[in-house]
Symmetry: C2
Subunit: 294 residues, 2 copies
């Protein structure tokens, strides 16, 4: 069985870039033809369906061009069971299109509960190739995810240093800094899940909004795949994210969500259909990211 790390590295090599398209269906930002999604009086199933329609179209834009997509669970959950049904549709559609799917769910809980989350997202069809998880509860809360990854060839990205403005409050606490301690554990957990490519299926979320830390953490976790949010709409540049890569442009994915999905709102693309705007914004990101590690 292929490990997640091996599938990921093969997909990055095949696409020639390490772009990750974040599928964050902000109701307020959806193009006008999906306006029903933000109408609280419309039937919930119809609202959710519009979100699914939009994201499946974005998946079609991304397919064959980038290694992976990252649906954000919160924006589906806000429409309850109908939203989750569309989550399943989008995950299934992306997988069928040959994209790796990283479920951005940021789950974390004690043993038997963590095991249920791991099963929910990494085992049950339509399943994600990897998910994001939160380390606050400690090693015994992460272990069930690692066990499931080993069993099904899945991956996890552990939150280490997040891209939000005040992430330092707890993540920079103590000596070493808490996020450094988490990083050391992530590196250690990863040694049990190394692929043939030399990288692990235990990844780390490290924001591009803190480039100095990104470079330091790259040293600290030499075989860990990075998921780097914060590029584009959140302020990180291609140069900022470059330091998160391993030599040869390996070992990282750079995420952009709003910058692609809602490119039609940017001045540069305002004369285009939202789908063409997304496609052109993605082309620009592909070029920027392809060379950013040099």
């Amino acid at each position: 069985m292929n490990t997640y790390a091996d599938r990921l590295e093969a997909a990055i090599a095949r696409c020639g870039n390490a772009c990750l398209v974040g599928l964050d269906p902000h109701l307020d930002a959806l193009p006008e033809e999906f306006a029903i999604a933000r109408d609280p009086k419309a039937p919930r199933a119809a609202r959710a369906q519009a979100i699914g329609d939009f994201l499946c179209a974005i998946v079609d834009v991304a397919a064959g061009r980038v290694p992976a997509v990252k649906p954000q669970s919160a924006f589906f959950e806000v429409l309850g069971a109908d939203g989750v049904a569309q989550w399943e549709r989008v995950v299934g559609h992306a997988s069928a299109a040959g994209l790796l799917v990283i479920g951005d769910v940021k789950r974390g809980d004690i043993d038997s509960t963590a095991k249920a989350y791991a099963q929910a997202f990494l085992e049950e069809a339509p399943r994600c190739d990897a998910i994001t998880i939160n380390p606050y509860l400690g090693a015994d809360s992460v272990q069930p995810f690692l066990d499931t990854c080993a069993k099904v060839g899945g991956g996890v990205y552990v939150l280490v240093r997040t891209s939000n403005k005040h992430s330092a409050l707890f993540q920079d606490h103590g000596t070493p800094l808490l996020h450094e301690k988490v990083a050391d554990e992530v590196a250690r957990w990863g040694t049990g899940l190394l692929g043939a490519c030399g990288l692990s299926s235990v990844g780390a979320v490290v924001g591009a909004t803190h480039p100095a830390e990104l470079a330091r953490l790259r040293q600290r976790m030499p075989t860990t795949p990075f998921l780097i949010p914060g590029y584009g709409a959140q302020g990180g540049s291609a140069k900022d994210v470059g330091v998160g890569f391993l030599p040869g442009g390996r070992g990282a994915l750079v995420n952009s969500s709003r910058g692609i999905l809602y490119a039609y709102k940017q001045p540069a693309y305002r004369d285009l259909h939202w789908k063409d705007a997304a496609s052109q914004a993605l082309a620009r990101m592909q070029t920027e990211i392809a060379g950013c590690w040099r």
Copy 2:
């Protein structure tokens, strides 16, 4: 509008105890009449329906006797959209039965995403009265939940010190210990959401498996409602949890999940129907918890 803290204190006073029944539908532990839930070949909707049937029956056992129930999201999510539909059914059924509902979802994410989670669980019907959240991302990730609580009269319980065996790995990092730093922030966040009862709608999850810390944290967060897991099946005694209360038996809820739901498996109750076993186990817990703070 009533604050969550006020509704909670009124419910504790009305019931004369601070028991919280955790609704954790472990597939493997369900009584035989719900065996379809663990049959991977059965239609998923039928499996989820069985979980909903079981938990609605447990809600009926708890109604009028305890202040609140705590459904655990993971065990619903493992059955996808069908599971989430049953989550909605159980949340709605418990609310209609007059129970407060604490959604154990442990969510946490950056600003706009946290806002979507807050809306999903605290605003959209059927809504929870409060939810558990994870603080790892920092204050700006918690703020959207606080804003929503203020708007709808909801509550949050921030993970401070969890009940799992190795929770110290990160939670005891640094000086002060990370969980103490989190506790100080929780106390501070809570000052903006004080109810007429004098307690806040910003609560804390503090495990009973660490009684010394529980007592210290009670001092550190004097107006914070505690959600105390770890009683019963996880090893904490009534005496252990007592130190988490404020004078007069206020300011805390003590959770038991497996000890109530699956009481029929315990030697003491093995001649009883699972529903009677749950009822008797709950009666015993009510007695133990009612006096535990003295």
